[in-house]
Amino acid sequence: MDKIRKQILLTLETNSRIDLKELAVLLGTDEVTIANEVAAMEKEHIICGYHTLIDWDKAGVELVNALIEVRVTPQRDQGFDKIAERIYNYPEVSATYLISGGYDLLVTIEGRTLQEISRFVSSKLSPIDEVVSTATYFILKKYKDHGTILANKTKGERMLITP
């Protein structure tokens, strides 16, 4: 990947709201180049979206998150893809990964209450024919998410003037 694309992505990954003109200054290039590259990468689905990291806890909105380990029987010709699709199409599922090791799929899910998630597991997930077993882990506290530490930032303590 060329250098300028990588630099654009590294910046957008942590600051998707940056002004393209400003980004051009930071990377030492012109705005047209940046705009063209960003548009091209959107088209190529290298950039898959611009999201916001929210601490819902602090916003006072109660949400429950869980990780679900799912063991499945892979299907002929389609391996795990078909069964993964049946799971990830549910809107409450926020991520689905094929995993190496003791189980097959890791599903992360978001719901308003414990019950809502339990219901999803018992009435939607487990009944799928190819699902052999599930294990659900509720998230109790998020310390760091998407590379960002969620604790309050401390103020800088450097002296104001140093040689």
Binding site: M159, I161, T162
Partner: protein, 388 residues
């Protein structure tokens, strides 16, 4: 009648120009600063963790005087891959308490009373007093804006006398951000060899070079044997508070420096030394990321200066810009004081780094972009007001 407890030498040293300004700033509430000479990044976590681990293991003893063997080996490997000069870890490497101690030791080990030390200015504040404390005679070389504050052959030749022994080469430079490339250093090396001088090359900002690779004068032909390379962990690895630096050079000089270090300091902090081993082994990526951040801020700052019509040569090293304020007809100190009082932005007057810094300001970009934007916005307002 009590006896004067003070030595004439101590009293003769001028207090640091920065200190004076610091006192004004620290009185002021909600001032924002562009005045620090240290990274805004925390030390990479893996390095901090290694320091914690070494404390947990109870490694709270002295190390050998010259430093931990593992660290000295890593330092010589690091210099081999970065400046392509090979040092014997057992006899040519000394671990010090920051680069500052190495500067002090270099002068004390090499100078006899009356020997002259050439100090290009603007530059870091401690070369001059350290030379005086070592009974040397500091001779400053004022560098010029039109040369992007690089030392030229002619300036060097004009300053040399039969008593000249040491040339200090402070590049990448604090406060100007100026760097010297291989092409810039070659004529300097020629003069140094011609006049049989030694070079104390302070390369503490070597990791923060934004136009190609840093070049050390020690890597030029015939210079290794007459150069002390001083470097450390403070700037590139964001480890200022750990107080760890080193010096590499010819064994006979390092041996004498080690002797003085042994009597004065014993050894550099042990925790820091263990942490630094990790820094040299596994922090290449962290350093690269910090360098890229500084570079982005540097471009931002230069663009802002251009927009407000503030004259500034492009700095390619360290994390400072050194814009000219000569158009306003004020001294650097007046400008900085008024900027602080009227807009609550602290910058360091160029004169804190030598008289030839008059008419310039040191602006540090070791700040987050948000902080920089806020501070530069205020500077812009101030400049606009001055221009009427």
């Amino acid at each position: 009648m009590t006896r004067n407890p003070l030595s004439k030498k101590a009293v003769s040293l001028a207090p640091s120009g920065i200190r004076k300004f610091f006192d004004i700033v620290s009185e002021m509430e909600d001032a924002i600063s562009l005045g620090v000479g240290e990274p805004d990044f925390d030390t990479p976590w893996r390095v901090r963790e290694e320091g914690i681990y070494s404390l947990e293991r109870g490694r709270t003893f002295y190390t050998s005087n010259a430093g931990l063997k593992e660290l000295k080996i890593e330092i010589s490997r690091y210099l081999e891959r970065t400046i392509h000069v090979t040092y014997n870890h057992a006899s040519e490497v000394l671990v010090t308490v920051g680069g500052s101690e190495a500067i002090d030791l270099a002068f004390r080990a090499m100078l006899d009373s009356g020997d002259e030390v050439l100090i290009p200015q603007p530059s870091y504040v401690s070369y001059l007093p350290c030379a005086v404390l070592a009974d040397g005679v500091p001779v400053t070389i004022p560098l010029k804006h039109e040369n992007a504050f690089r030392l030229t052959r002619e300036e060097l030749e004009a300053a040399i006398t039969p008593r000249t022994k040491i040339l200090v080469l402070p590049f990448p430079n604090n406060p100007t951000g100026s760097v010297m490339t291989k092409e810039d250093l070659e004529p300097i090396a020629e003069v140094v060899k011609e006049h049989d001088l030694y070079v104390v090359s302070d390369e503490i900002y070597s990791e923060l070079t934004y136009s190609g690779q840093h070049c050390s004068i020690a890597s030029l032909p015939g210079m290794r044997e007459r150069t002390l390379v001083i470097n450390g962990f403070s700037k590139g690895f964001a480890m200022t508070g750990w107080r760890l630096g080193y010096v590499c050079g010819p064994a006979p000089i390092v041996e004498q420096m080690t002797k003085i270090h042994q009597y004065a300091i014993m050894c550099a902090p042990t925790t820091s030394q263990y942490a630094a081993v990790e820094a040299l082994r596994n922090c290449g990526k962290d350093v690269e990321n910090m360098r890229e951040s500084y570079n982005q801020r540097r471009r931002f700052l230069m663009n802002e200066f251009r927009k407000m019509g503030l004259q500034c040569f492009e700095p390619f090293g360290a994390f400072y810009a050194f814009p000219s304020i000569q158009e306003f007809g004020m001294t650097s100190e007046e400008f900085a004081t008024r900027l602080l009082q009227e807009e609550k932005v602290a910058v360091v007057p160029g004169t804190a780094f030598g008289d030839c810094g008059e008419g310039f300001l040191r602006i540090s970009y070791a700040y987050s972009l948000e902080d920089l934007k806020e501070a530069i916005g205020r500077l812009e307002k101030f400049v606009r007001r001055l221009r009427g």
